[in-house]
Symmetry: C2
Subunit: 768 residues, 2 copies
C-alpha cells in the first residue's frame, strides 16, 4: 500500500525507478569481489582462538617456506594504531589478542588455498589472560584491564576515556535537576532493558584490494562506506600525508548498515601490500569472519528511571546506558555519545540526566549499526512509555502526542531550537492507518506503537562537482557510496531538477579519493541532505554559467530565462530557445566542459563541542505501528501488519523512501524477534553463519505500509532531510508493545524469542 505525495517538481517527489535498476536486476552490477588485477595475490588472516592472551611467540618459518607464499606480516611489521574516535586498534595484533577472531598474522600467497595452507603451518605460543565478557563486571573497580594503555591513546576531543578502567568513553548530559524532578513527580518508573549482540547481515562480504606503488603510495579498492574518512584514518594511523593514499570504491556495494565502515579487512590488506613488492593483494572476509571479526551491533543495558505527572506529563528522566563495545573502541564511543543524546526520547522532559558508558569486553568489536545507538535507547524509552501509559490508564498514542517535541521545542540536550518536526503527524498517521482505536478482533492479537527520532552527525561536509559536457550530458562527481540505498538515483534527480536536464543525460561517478571531492561519509542518513545540498549548489553553479552564456546569445536577461529538459528559453518568448549543446558550442566551438562546484558544511547555532556534540543540523522523526498475533502454545510472534510513518522533510523519491521504510522495518524485525549472536563461555561466537543466525526471510515479512510525512526543512534540498537510519529505530518497542497488548506480557530483553514469551506467560499465569 502506498501513500504518495503529489509532485510539484519535474523529478523531485516523483516515483522514478532506480537509475541502476537494469544493471542490478540483470546481475551485471560490479561489486568489490568482481575486482581482479594482474599479478594479484590473495590474503588470509590467522585469528586468535583465545578471547584474551599474550602473544609469546609466533613461528612462521614453515609457512615462509611454502611455495607460493609471498608475504607474511605480524604486528611487528606495522606497529600502528588506528581508529576514528580513539586510536586503540592495531592493524595486526602485536603483543596481545583481545577477542576470539582477532588477526595476528596475515599471509599473502598466489591463491587462497596456498594462503590457507600457510596459516596451518604457523604456530603461535599464547599465554592466556583473564577474559571479561560482561560489561558490568568490566566496569567494576580492580578488574583486569583490556587496554592497559588506554590513557595514552589519541582520541578526538569529545571522547572521555576513564583512565585505568575498561571504560573508553563516559558521557553525561544534564538538563534541569533530576532529583528535584523526581520529587515533583507523581509516579516514578524504574526499568532496565537490554539488547543483544547482532550482525548487520549485509549480503556482500567485506573485501579490499591494496597495492603499494614503488613510491610508497597506497591504493585501496574497498567496500567501505566512507572513502575519504578511511583515507584520513589510514593517513593518521600510518603517519603519512593524504596524498600517499588513494581509496577507490567498487561501482556497487552490497549493503553496509554501518558494518562497512572502519578498519577491518583494509588494515590487513594494506599490511600485506606493504610487503609484496608492489603486487596487489586481495582479501575477502568469509561470512564467519564478518560475524566474528568485523563489527556487531552493541549489546546494551539501559536503566531508565522516569518521573511523570498524573496527567501524563513526563517530568524527569535519569538514564544509565551501557554500550558493550567489545575488544576495541571502534565507533563505540560516538555510538554511545549519540545514543545517550536520545535516551530521553523525542519528548519534552524538564529534568534529564543521562550517563553513558562505552565499555571494553573481550568480545567481537561493536561499531556503527543502522541507528547508531538510538535503537538501544528507543527500545528502552518506548517500552517504558507503554508501561507508563498502561499504569496511568492513558492511551499510548495520546500519551505520546502529549509529550513529543514540536517545532521550536528544544533538542534533548537543550542546546538547539528544533525545526522541521513532523513527529506528531507521524504518530497520528501511523495510528490512523492501523485503526488504532479499533481493538484487534481476534484473541491473542494486539496493536503496538512506538515513536522515535534520529539525529545526523554535525557538522560534516560534502562537496560535489557537476560537469556539463558538450552535448549537454552531465557527469556528477561525488564521494557518496552507492551502497544499495539508491544514492545515484536521488543525486541524479536533484541534478536533473536543478539543471533542468533529462534524467537520462546524467551519470553519477563512483567514489575515488583522487578524483571525487570530499564527503564525510555515506552514513548517518546524511546523503540526501548534505550531498543533496552540495550537488544542488554545484548544479546551480553550472546552471548560472550556462544561463549567462545563453543570455548573451539570446539577448535575454538571465532572470527571464527558464530551463526545460536540456533547453534554455526566454520566459516571455519561448521560441527564443537554445539547447545546452548549442550554448556550449557557441562559446567553445572546439570543445570544453562547464564545471560547476558546490560544497556544504552546515553549522548549528548553539554548537560548541565540535563534531559529535549534541546539536544536529536536522532531526528525523518516525512512528511505527504493528499488529501482532502470539501463538500461546509455541510462543511465536507473527507480525500481521506494520506501518511506518516517517518525516523525511520533503520526499525526493517516494519509491526509495518506501524502500527505506519497508527495509528498516524488516531489518529491525530481525534483532527484535530472531537474531542474536550467541557468545559462548570462552568468548566465542557460537552461531557465526546465516544457517545458525536467523534473519527474517520473505516468509516472516508482514504487509508493510509506508507513510511519508513532510515537515519541510528550511535548509534541506527542496526541504528534504534523511531517512535511512530512522526507519529501524522504533520497530522493536512497537512489536513488544503489541505483544503486551495481545497477551499481557512485557519482555524487556531482546530478542523476544518464543521461549521468553512462553516463560513470561507462565510467570504471568503463576502471578495470577
Amino acid at each position: 500500500m502506498k501513500d504518495r505525495i503529489t509532485p510539484t517538481y519535474l523529478t523531485i517527489g516523483q516515483p522514478i525507478p532506480r537509475v541502476d535498476a537494469i544493471e542490478k536486476v540483470t546481475g551485471q552490477a560490479t561489486y568489490g569481489d568482481d575486482l581482479s588485477f594482474s599479478n594479484m595475490l590473495h590474503g588470509k588472516a590467522l585469528r586468535s582462538p583465545y578471547a584474551h592472551a599474550k602473544i609469546v611467540n609466533i613461528d612462521v618459518t614453515k609457512a615462509q617456506r611454502l611455495p607460493g607464499v609471498k608475504a607474511i606480516v605480524t604486528g611487528k611489521d606495522i606497529p600502528v594504531l588506528g581508529g576514528e574516535a580513539l586510536k586503540d586498534y592495531p592493524f595486526v595484533a602485536t603483543d596481545r589478542v583481545r577477542y576470539i577472531g582477532e588477526p595476528l598474522v596475515a599471509v599473502a600467497a598466489i591463491d587462497e588455498e596456498t594462503a590457507e595452507e600457510a596459516l596451518d603451518l604457523i604456530t603461535v605460543q599464547y599465554e592466556q589472560l583473564p577474559a571479561l565478557f560482561d560489561p558490568l563486571k568490566a566496569m567494576e573497580p580492580n578488574t583486569p584491564l583490556i587496554h592497559e594503555r588506554l590513557h595514552t591513546y589519541e582520541h578526538i576531543p569529545v571522547i572521555k576515556p576513564v583512565e585505568h578502567t575498561n571504560i573508553c568513553h563516559h558521557v553525561q548530559f544534564i538538563r534541569g535537576d533530576v532529583d528535584q524532578g523526581f520529587d515533583e513527580s507523581d509516579l516514578v518508573f524504574e526499568d532496565t532493558f537490554t539488547t543483544q549482540m547482532a550482525q548487520h547481515g549485509a549480503l556482500e562480504l567485506h573485501m579490499a584490494v591494496a597495492q603499494v606503488d614503488p613510491g610508497g603510495r597506497i591504493t585501496v579498492w574497498v567496500t567501505n562506506d566512507a572513502p575519504h574518512r578511511l583515507r584520513n584514518d589510514l593517513a593518521t594511523a600510518l603517519r603519512i600525508p593524504l596524498t600517499k593514499i588513494r581509496v577507490v570504491s567498487p561501482p556497487y556495494m552490497g549493503g553496509g548498515f554501518g558494518g562497512k565502515g572502519g578498519l577491518k579487512v583494509e588494515t590487513l590488506c594494506i599490511a600485506l601490500a606493504l610487503k609484496t613488492d608492489n603486487r596487489p593483494v586481495k582479501m575477502v572476509l568469509t561470512r564467519e569472519e564478518v560475524f566474528t571479526s568485523s563489527l556487531v551491533r552493541h549489546p546494551s543495558i539501559v536503566q531508565l528511571k522516569t518521573g511523570v505527572k498524573k496527567d501524563g506529563r513526563l517530568w524527569a528522566r535519569q538514564a544509565k546506558v551501557i554500550y558493550d563495545t567489545g575488544a576495541y573502541a571502534e565507533k563505540g564511543p560516538t555510538v554511545c555519545q549519540q545514543g545517550c543524546v536520545a535516551a530521553a526520547g523525542p519528548y519534552n522532559i524538564t529534568h534529564v540526566k543521562v550517563d553513558g558508558y562505552c565499555v571494553y569486553t573481550n568480545k567481537p568489536i561493536a561499531g556503527a549499526y543502522r541507528g547508531y545507538g538510538f535503537p538501544q535507547v528507543a527500545w528502552a524509552h518506548e517500552s517504558q512509555m507503554d508501561i507508563i501509559a498502561h499504569k496511568l490508564g492513558i492511551d499510548p498514542v495520546t500519551l505520546r502526542l502529549q509529550n513529543v517535541v514540536e517545532e521550536e521545542d528544544t533538542s534533548p540536550t537543550g542546546k538547539q531550537v528544533l525545526h522541521s518536526v513532523g513527529l506528531k503527524e507521524c504518530i497520528k498517521r501511523a495510528a490512523q492507518s492501523i485503526e488504532w482505536d479499533m481493538k484487534s478482533g481476534k484473541k491473542h492479537r494486539g496493536k503496538g506503537i512506538a515513536c522515535a527520532f534520529k539525529n545526523t552527525k554535525t557538522p560534516s561536509g560534502s562537496s560535489a562537482i557537476v560537469k556539463v559536457s558538450q552535448d549537454g550530458s552531465v557527469e556528477v562527481l561525488t564521494s557518496t557510496v552507492e551502497i544499495g540505498q539508491g544514492a545515484k538515483t536521488i543525486i541524479s534527480q536533484m541534478v536533473a531538477e536543478e539543471l533542468d536536464v533529462p534524467l537520462e543525460s546524467i551519470t553519477v561517478a563512483t567514489p575515488d579519493t583522487d578524483l571525487t571531492p570530499y564527503d564525510a561519509s555515506t552514513t548517518s542518513s546524511r546523503t540526501t541532505f548534505h550531498m543533496g545540498n552540495a550537488v544542488k549548489k554545484a548544479a546551480k553553479d553550472a546552471r548560472e554559467q550556462l544561463f549567462g552564456m545563453a543570455s548573451e546569445m539570446l539577448g535575454v536577461e538571465t532572470e527571464d530565462l527558464r530551463g526545460e529538459k536540456g533547453k534554455i528559453y526566454s520566459q516571455d518568448n519561448p521560441k527564443l530557445r537554445l539547447s545546452l549543446a548549442e550554448v556550449i558550442k557557441n562559446q567553445y566551438g572546439a570543445g570544453l566542459d562547464i564545471i560547476g562546484r558546490g560544497s556544504y558544511y552546515p553549522l548549528v547555532e548553539g554548537e560548541t563541542g565540535g563534531m559529535w556534540s549534541a546539536p544536529s543540523i536536522f532531526w528525523m522523526y518516525g512512528a511505527d505501528c504493528v499488529e501482532v498475533e502470539v501463538d500461546l502454545e509455541t510462543g511465536q510472534v507473527k507480525i500481521l501488519r506494520a506501518i511506518g510513518a516517517h518525516d523525511v522533510g520533503k520526499v525526493i523519491n517516494p519509491v526509495t523512501c518506501e524502500g527505506q521504510i519497508e527495509g528498516g522495518i524488516v531489518h529491525g524485525m530481525g534483532p527484535t524477534l530472531f537474531e542474536e549472536m550467541v557468545v559462548g563461555e570462552r568468548g566465542d561466537v557460537l552461531n557465526p553463519s546465516f544457517a545458525d543466525y536467523k534473519m527474517p526471510t520473505a516468509l516472516d515479512i508482514p504487509e508493510v505500509t509506508s507513510l511519508i510525512v513532510e515537515a519541510t526543512h528550511r535548509e534541506g534540498p527542496w526541504g528534504a532531510k534523511g531517512i535511512g537510519e530512522m526507519t529501524i529505530v522504533p520497530i522493536a518497542p512497537a512489536i513488544a508493545n503489541g505483544i503486551y497488548d495481545a497477551v499481557g506480557v512485557r519482555i524487556k530483553d531482546l530478542p523476544i524469542t518464543p521461549d521468553k514469551i512462553l516463560s513470561a506467560l507462565k510467570r504471568k499465569q503463576l502471578d495470577k
Copy 2:
C-alpha cells in the same frame, strides 16, 4: 652537454626528476596491456588480404560453432562511419575493403588462441577491384574511386573534399601574387622532394578493453591520446549522447607520437563488446597490425618553386603538396591543412601560393605523426634553402637569418601578428654550438643546418580541477594523458609553483571522461601551454580561497600574504604563519576539500575559420645543426654531432625539455636515414616488424646538444609554449644539408639510404 637557464622560481625552470621516475624504472608502472577484468573475452580481427575488393560473402558459420567463441561481428552489425575530420571510416568494413589489413570480421572468444582459431574458420568471398597505390595516379581524372560516396560523408567545415575524385581535401593558401613575385625575382628554383611511409614506432602496442553495461553504456579503457575527443568521435559515430560513453586511460602509455589517436582498435573492440552480453572484451594489436592497420606517417610529394632576389631575399614561393593518406582520411585532411600552412617555411615571403591535396590510395591509413605534416614540408623548404644558399653563394646560416620571421612579423597566411618568436636566436645558438664557421676538419665530413616552426591547433580547450585535501595534499584532475612525455611532472611543477606547495604533496590523476574535465587532446604540443594555463588557473582559484580564509584567521590583508611550501604567512610579519592544513581545519574542522577550477580556451585575433584554420595561439621555433661523415665506399652516413636549439617560450623543466630535443632528433633520424615502410606491388607492407623496419638504436645515436631558447609568450603559463613536436621537424633537412656539405650530393627523396648516396656519388662522378 647541457645549457640550462638559471631558475627564478621555486620549481619552474628547475631540473626536477620525473615524478613517475621510480615507478617507471622499477618496471611497476601499469600500462594498458596490464589491465585485466573478470569474465573478460579476447578479440581478434580478420583482415583483408586484398588492397581493394568487394566483399561478396562472409561465412562465419563454422567459426560460430567453435567452442569458446562468444561473438562474431561484421560491418553489418555496426554500420556506422567514424573519423575526426571526415566521417569515412567504418568500424568494421561493410561492403568493401580498401587496404591490406582492413578489418572485416572481429571475433571475441574466451582466449586469444580460440579467437585466432575462429578466424581461420571464416571464409570470405571477395571480388577484387583495381587498386591505386600512387597518389599522382589517384589524382588523375577518370581514375577508379576508392570512396565513391565521398561527397556524402560528413566533415568539419574547414575540410574541402573534391567530389567524385580521390582527393578528400584540397586546401589553398594565397598571399600576394606569386606570378608577379616570380616576375620580380632574380632567380627561380624548382625542386620536388618526397618523403616515404613511416611508422611511429611507439614501444607499446595499441590496446583497448570495451564493456557495455546493461543500460547500453559503453566504457573503453584504451591507449588513446585524447580521451575526450575519442568520446566525442564515438558518440557522433554511434549517434548516442556523450553520457553513454566513458573513456578511461590506463595509468601510463608507452609512447604515441600521433599513432595513438583515432579509431583503430577502439572500434573493433566496441563492436564486439556490443554483442557480448556485457562481458568486457580486450584487444591488443600485434606489432604487424600496428604497422599495417593502425596509422603511418604520410608519404608526400612536395613541389617547391621559389623566387629569390640576388641579395638573398625570398620573394615568391609556390608549393604543391600532396599527402598520400591511404585508404581512409583519418587525420589526413588536417595534417594536409596544417602542413600547407608551413609550406612557405618560417620566412617572410611576399608572394605565396600553396595548394595542398590529401589523396586516397589503397594503402595503410596515414594520420597524425609527430610534427603533423610539418616534417614533410620542412624537408622540402629547408633542403631547397640550402640549394638556394649555395647557388647564391650566401652562407646558409646567413640566408636564414636574413629571411626568418621575427616578433611582430605576420604568420605564413598573413592573418596573425606573430609574438614570441625566438627563431633567430635558435639559429645563432645552434650554429655557434657546432662552430659553424669552422669547416669540418676531415674529408667527407660536413655540417648542415635547418630551421623550422610548428603551430598548435587553435582554438582548443583545456580544463583542470585542483582539489586541496585537509592536510594540504593536492589532487589534480586533468584529462592530459601521460604518454611518456612527462606531463605529470610538468603539471605537478605548475601546481606546486602556483599554490606554493611542495611537489611531493601533489598527485595528478589519470584521465577518465566520467571524472576528469575536458581536454581537447594530448597532442599538438599543447599540454604545457593549454593545460598549463588551465592548471594554473585552477591552482590560483584554490589559492585565492585558501588565502581568503587565512586572511581572516591572521587578520592580514590577502595581498600582504605570501605562500611557501604549504604555508601561508604575512609578508610583513612572517611569524604570522599557517599551514594549509590549519587553514582548512579552522574553516572545516570536520573535514572538507578546497576545490579550484580552471579552464583555458584561447582565441587568436584574426581567427575566422574555426579550428584548423591557420592562426595558432603560439608558434614553436627551432634550428638543428649536425656534423656528418659519409663513407664513400658504403654510402653510409654517420651523424657525429647534433645540436637542437628550440624556443620553448619559458622552460618549465630543462630535463624534460632536453629529453624532447634529444628524443626528437633521434626519432627524426630514423625516417631520415633508415626507416621506410616498403609497400609491395599488391599493396602489402613488406617489412611490418622491428626486425625488418630499422629504427635508430643506441649505436646510431650521436652526441646531442640541447639548447633551450626562451622567447617568453605573454599568454603562456610563466611564458611557456610547447616543444614536443617541434623537435622532430628540422632534423632531416639538416642531415641532408650536412651530407651535401660533406660530399656534394643532394638527396631529395627520403630516406637517405646508402644506395641513394652511392648512386648520387656515381652520377656526380659521371657529370664531372
